[in-house]
Subunit: 328 residues, 2 copies
């Protein structure tokens, strides 16, 4: 039987602390060479895209993919999870929350390993779902945060975000009118924008030494979030996957501008596993950039599947996939 | 609601004549530039693979993908079909039969446009499911076939195949001990092998003028079926997709051997739409090679979905995918 989980059930099955645990476990599995992956499918549609991200965790014993698509009427996300050994289907689940929480959870791992441990002040650029998830991630690993500033182009949105964060986390979060104001006092900067058009949300000229930046909003060649100067100013850059270098518009722009220095770039799992240095000194500027991977989706979905089984969530679907002899 | 179809229901919903019609319609849509595609995912596993093939038919108004995988315990195939305009899920179906019948049906289109119209004698190399589907395809478009010869390494399998084809189609099909014997008298040659190891099933030296060959068994770089000399001897080569040139081990071997002449190669849909010449004269040797495409899967699945709806087949699944604002 295959477990079918809708979004509400997925939410019940995985909270941020458990998701962070799952992403850290994934990092260790990646560092140990126990994962398999491949370039994602990114098929452009007239008003959207169809993307498919595969992932295999040989040690955890699961494999599958996330498929998500939109043609202008909202994005639909699904993860399809299979047993690695037998190939049997385990679960089909709505992956909207999976996407948000795994992105946030991996960002939390980056914050845990790269941001100043004693940080008390955060800056935020962006006020959407991903910015909220980033804040949840931050508060899970840096509970010492006491105040923050948020910039977003529309004042009612940044005001609402500031109010909501202040209440949710007991912070002093204020809305500011220019992005520089969100940065100038911060030790940690979260950038999570749904970038449209050609502009960027963060310019390298605004940065100061010692800042750690999490940037998660340029996940396709046509999307931008940070300018090439940010790459030049960062002493250490951790990516969720090296595939980012040809998938993220920010990386492609930095490559073209000549500010992408491969010797400063590592994969986050290398830092988690102690195979690479993260923040070398308090004065270093560090950058985490993510594009999202199928491995993250499968690692999160696997944890969701286990918990949903334990909690009796979801409904069962009769196996409709028959195992056949190989043809093609 | 999403329609869920198991393999038996898929079989009921699509027979070979309707599948051929669907593949011809797809060819016209491809030729008219109304399709979108992307390279497939081909992720190797220790004892198998995970492959995903996307496809979008803008005119037919459907999109989706086929995902299939095995890690040594049989292959599981699923097609996920969505409405092109809205992105809403339409159907999830077992795609084992979809794969076999769309492969056969596209092969039938190739036979219809490339093989001698008055052919009465067929040669077959291979005796598995795909060879059977090729025979069904052949008999649908060349009903004048009266006799045939089949070669397959194991005598009991080729004997069984010969008996079965003779009975099913009222032919004189005999089993032969060497592949050359299957070819020497034939006007049409069907090659459909599940090639293992380094060998090939068909050598170019065995060919004669005027023969049309359908070869469908080398669908990944590590799979082989025909040798580079077949490419040299073919006057005209039609592919189901140009992506075959980097996906099929046969094409890669021909490229390396220097026998792959791009000026003789067309896509089958160009021939169907009259944009390219197929068989130029009775003495030409013609070759159809296929690797399979997501477009074929989606075109077949779309027809299956329509027919299943008309016939009341399958069971309904509550929509579990919510349309969300874009994140990533």
């Amino acid at each position: 039987m295959t477990l079918v989980l809708d979004e509400a059930q997925v939410r019940l099955a995985l909270d941020m602390p458990a998701a962070i645990e799952a992403m850290e476990a994934l990092c260790r599995e990646e560092a140990a060479g126990q994962t398999l992956s491949a370039d994602r499918i990114h098929l452009r549609l007239p008003r959207g895209f169809l993307r498919i991200l595969p992932g295999v965790l040989t040690q955890a014993g699961v494999m599958g993919y996330k498929a998500f698509h939109t043609n202008g009427h909202g994005v639909r996300y699904a993860v399809h999870l299979f047993d690695f050994e037998t190939g049997a289907p385990l679960a089909i689940m709505d992956a909207s929350h999976v996407t948000a929480i795994r992105t946030g959870a991996m960002a939390a791992v980056a914050l845990k390993y790269l941001s100043p441990a004693e940080a008390t002040r955060v800056g935020v650029i962006g006020s959407g779902l991903e910015a909220r998830t980033e804040m949840a991630a931050l508060m899970a690993v840096r509970p010492g945060i006491r105040s923050g500033r948020v910039f977003s182009p529309r004042s009612e949105r940044r005001e609402a975000f500031a109010r909501e964060m202040s209440e949710t986390y007991g912070l002093q979060m204020s809305a500011v009118e220019r992005p520089q104001q969100a940065i100038e006092d911060a030790e940690i900067l979260l950038v999570a924008t749904g970038t449209r058009g050609g502009g960027v949300a963060l310019e390298g000229a605004w940065l100061h030494a010692g800042l750690h930046i999490n940037s998660i909003g340029s996940t396709a060649p046509e999307q931008r979030e940070i300018d090439p100067e940010v790459w030049r100013r960062a002493d250490r850059i951790a990516l969720d996957t090296l595939r980012l270098l040809h998938e993220s518009g920010d990386a492609l722009a930095a490559e073209q501008a000549g500010t992408l220095d491969r010797s400063r770039i590592v994969e986050l799992h290398q830092v988690v596993a102690g195979q690479a240095v993260g923040r070398g000194s308090p004065n270093q500027t560090t950058l985490y950039k993510s594009v999202g991977t199928g491995l993250q989706d499968i690692a999160a979905a696997s944890r969701i599947y286990q918990r949903a089984r334990e909690q009796g969530l979801g409904c069962e679907m009769a196996d409709f996939l028959t195992a056949r002899l190989p043809t093609r």
